[in-house]
Amino acid sequence: MSLHPVTLKINGSLEQVNVPANMTLLTMLREVVGLTGTKNGCTAGECGACTVLIDGEPTNSCMILAVECEGQEIVTIEGLANEGRLSILQESIIEQGGVQCGFCTPGMLISAKALLDRNSNPSDEQIRAALVGNLCRCTGYVRIINAVHQAAAHIPEA
């Protein structure tokens, strides 16, 4: 299998990597770049643990090849905090107790961030619909949904 050079931005910094054709973005992030916050759950696009932002759109990173990401801008869970300060969403999920085992949390927060980026005041139903592709086997979702509401309430008016 030949290697393909890929240049892309990850959490604001430019990266150049050589990847085999069959390497997913998920594997590249975890095993080449060393960003292990993004989790590998089902590798079938169902659990959402691997969700990252690609050019602002939440995407299952297990369902896209690294080589397809040439020139794109990726944000992972490691990119949410700013200079060591957790984002409002991260603070909210801690305060609301929306983390138990934590495996779903990175993907959940990325999906929630994408939701709040397009709708700063979502209803319960809109939050549930936006997070439907992120499975959590611990919390029962209620505290996660509360955390998204809390974060929305703290978003400064545009």
Partner: protein, 297 residues
Amino acid sequence: MLNPHPGLPEFEYIKPASLAEASQFLAQHVGDARPLLGGTDTFVRMRDGFWTDKFLVDVKGLPGMTDLSFDQVKGLRVGAAVPMNRMLRLPDVALYYPLLAEAAESVASYQLRSRATVVGNICNASPAGDTIGSCILYDGVLEVHGVDGLRDEPLVGFFKGPGKTILKAGDIVLAVKLPVPPVSNVGHYIKLGRNKLSDLSIVGVSILAYPDKKVASGFHFRVALASVAPIPLELKNLTEVLASGKITPELLDVAAQAAMDACNPIDDVRGSARYRKYMVRNLVRRGLENIWLKLGQ
């Protein structure tokens, strides 16, 4: 038992520079190469070992593939590489093709729809494909590039069985085109899954309707079903039944029973054939009532 967490098998990634080159390559590697769009079906099939292609031909960068446009003469053109989320952000889609918008929104999850495409949904030719029924009812036509150049393929007659279409070696679907829709059309897609959101359908019911003074009922209805036959199924007899006279609760009952009688589902992991048949009757009845309200009746 399949490995529950397999990686992707080895393959080569090809990014052709032109449509001609892409079609040529696919035609020369029959059985070993397939076009790659969003990959949401492809990667699952490859990980599970069902597809063993040596080459994935990424056609998303080819001319016209990412175009999305609507105008009042030509209608809607959705390029094959347009993800569903991007399509749904075009206001004309919900305004003029409400059935397509509702069906697309029912597909999997938001982040999967960042990659999934309508053309991919069609070409995968799953009987469960959520957006296929709506594209059939809006008289969709596929723009196809093959080794002999461009041609149009209507969706009627396109499907040959689960995963099987009339596409030939070297064919690449560039877009799905939906003509200008009937004025004041309303639509409803009902998806019965094992859970409320995100599952594959056990039964999918697409209904389109619009005022039509030429028929006795005053309305033209079209109904298509997913997951109840080897291919997506339009029930033409329902159009006749629902044109035949004044729309009454009794006529809706007759139509729902006719839908149940016309489908031929199988037992599978998501539901039994018998259950599906009853659900077709109940959901068609429920869908027709919803449509009737939307028509302002």
